[in-house]
């Protein structure tokens, strides 16, 4: 099985819109939304949920005021300043390290497991989809990314499908690292702005650090052709496969407003034609 992970470094480059367009073109695939922190792909694919599961991960300390003698040992040990002067734990500041729980001489601290999100197996008009949503202000997004990719893979195996297309998160931190391991290739959707190029350079270094082969395409390329060329020059120097350009086309926003992919909205649009060509090259490169 092959897995294509679509990332961008910078947010808002059009990663999810382009991935949704691929969903219209790809056959025999499972879709996976691993941008668990701000998942948007379901707004286009309109999944009907078949399975719903809690995502339990990490613990939070809670002080039992009846048993607490206010000895101060927990406050002395906590490196997150998560325990107030009157011995109440701030659940947002609590890292879940359990040090206070372990050392409390009165055994006055509970340390329950958190439910910090949900994950789903769904049917969509494009085929099966694995997706997840992390609770607001929750931690452990990397673990949820790893889990949802595993579930996507299982789903593909069960259904005998040979391709997993995964929407990755922005940035270069924990959830992005979790979205890279074991991927066949990553496609970096960049945009021709100084920020887009800067962020694409950093995320491509991350892919190289984890030895995942990278490809790049430039969305909205005609907004700044010079920056587009700089991105492409950088890619050539680093042996990153160039997958072409997509013009700035309002059809992406119009299609999104209607909950459609650009192919469903207007398959003759400039944007659709450019994405179609990229997809044709991609499946050759991936060998599916």
């Amino acid at each position: 099985m092959k897995e294509l992970v679509v990332i961008s470094g910078k947010g808002g480059t059009g990663k999810t819109s382009i991935l949704a367009a691929f969903a219209s073109l790809a056959k025999n695939k499972v879709l996976c939304d691993a941008d668990v922190d701000a998942a948007d792909l379901h707004l286009i694919t309109d999944p009907s949920i078949k399975e719903r599961h809690d995502f339990d991960s990490g613990h939070t300390a809670i002080i039992n005021q009846d048993k607490c003698t206010q000895c101060g040992r927990c406050r002395e040990l906590c490196r997150w300043n998560a325990i107030s002067e009157d011995f109440v734990v701030d659940p947002i500041a609590c890292e879940g390290c359990g040090v206070c729980y372990y050392f409390c001489p009165e055994e006055a601290i509970d340390f329950p497991l958190n439910t910090c999100g949900e994950w789903f197996i769904s049917d969509t008009r494009f085929g099966p989809m694995a997706h997840a949503s992390l609770g607001i202000a929750e931690e452990n997004s990397g673990k949820l990314v790893t889990l949802i990719r595993q579930e996507g893979r299982k789903l593909a195996e069960e259904k005998g499908l040979d391709l997993l297309i995964t929407d990755g998160p922005p940035g270069i931190g924990c959830p992005v690292i979790a979205s890279l391991g074991g991927a066949t290739s990553v496609l970096i959707v960049s945009e021709p702005t100084v920020s887009g190029r800067h962020d694409m350079e950093r995320v491509s270094e991350l892919a190289a650090f984890f030895k995942v082969p990278a490809m790049v395409c430039v969305n909205k390329f005609d907004l700044n052709v010079e920056e587009t060329q700089r991105i492409e020059d950088f890619a050539r120097q680093r042996d990153i496969q160039l997958m072409g350009r997509v013009p700035f086309d309002p059809v992406f926003t119009k299609a999104m407003v209607q909950g459609k992919t650009i192919f469903e909205y207007d398959d003759q649009s400039e944007g659709a034609r450019a994405v179609k060509k990229i997809w044709g090259d991609l499946i050759q490169k991936l060998g599916v």
Binding site: T13, A38, E138, S141, G173, S195, H198, R202, L223
Partner: protein, 285 residues
């Protein structure tokens, strides 16, 4: 006062707002770029960097001469960052959250701490504006501790503007927590709206007053405005889509420089925020 600028969805214009607001005011301002995974503010501010500090986080090192293989470190660690296998103890530095539990629990005093590099903080200025930037090391997973270090540079008595990362999880919370006002930047599209709802949820958990900027306000639909109204979130500014704005942004130009009429709008924005914050403080007092 500390104003953080956040969005939920990426690419909605946080950095545009943070940088243009920072250079539009006469007050003493410091700009902290807390989007340490992909910091961009420096591309627009082009500060003179005077100092670069390496930031590390403590991780365990085991002296096997002293270790008795009691496994207490292995037991206390919630992150599987220190594991006893046979006759050796393996610390996995990249998994370590730096809680210090293993060192505290070790009865043999065999554990000491060394530093794992999280990234760097760059400190500089542009004219009167103080500029501070965190940059996560490529391959480092944990951004919140670096964000907290950047925020330690906050100076009381000046206006601090924080450019936060996208999303709603721990890096965003680390950037918004204990700020006086959150300025949310969104776009009027289904993705923008969906992620705005999450961002408002996060701001409400923290209990911080907030307002909205709608960028590319003439693309998309009206659902963002309707939602803001239903939640009582004031829309403080709208920035229309203009190919000229998009092109000048793409080159790294500041909006208030390529289109100076925006300077007054950013000043007015700041006065609105000041009013909301002082009103809220009076309400609390």
């Amino acid at each position: 006062m500390i104003i953080s600028i956040a969005s939920g969805k990426g690419g909605t214009g946080k950095t545009t707002v943070a940088t243009n607001l920072a250079v539009s005011l006469d007050d003493q301002v410091q700009l902290l770029d807390c989007d340490v995974e992909e910091p961009n503010a420096h591309l627009f501010i082009q500060p003179v960097i005077e100092k670069t500090e390496t930031v590390t986080t403590p991780v365990p090192e085991v002296d096997m001469e002293k270790c008795t293989l009691c496994k207490k470190c292995n037991e206390i660690c919630q992150f599987k960052a220190i594991v006893v296998i046979g006759e050796t103890v393996l610390p996995f530095h990249e998994l370590c959250h730096s809680c210090g539990g293993c060192m505290e629990v070790c009865p043999a005093g065999a554990i000491t701490e060394v530093g794992r590099e999280l990234g760097v903080i760059e400190i500089g200025h542009r004219n009167g504006l103080e500029f501070i930037n965190g940059k996560l090391r490529i391959g480092e997973a944990m951004s919140p501790p670096l964000i907290r270090k950047v925020r330690e540079k906050t100076r009381p008595g000046v206006l601090t503007i924080i450019d936060a990362p996208p999303g709603t999880s721990c890096p965003v919370i680390a950037s918004m927590k204990d700020t006086d006002f959150v300025l949310l930047v969104t776009e009027p599209t289904p993705f923008g709206l969906h992620d705005l709802k999450l961002a408002i949820g996060a701001v409400n958990i923290l209990g911080i007053p907030h307002g909205l900027i709608i960028n590319r306000s003439d693309l998309g639909d009206d659902r963002v405005r309707e939602y803001a109204k239903s939640q009582g979130v004031p829309v403080l500014m709208e920035i229309p889509f203009d190919r000229k704005i998009a092109e000048s942004y793409s080159k790294g130009e500041m909006l208030v420089e390529s289109m100076p009429e925006w300077k007054g709008k950013f000043r007015a924005l700041y006065h609105q925020i000041e009013d909301i914050v002082s009103h809220r403080k009076r309400g609390e007092a």
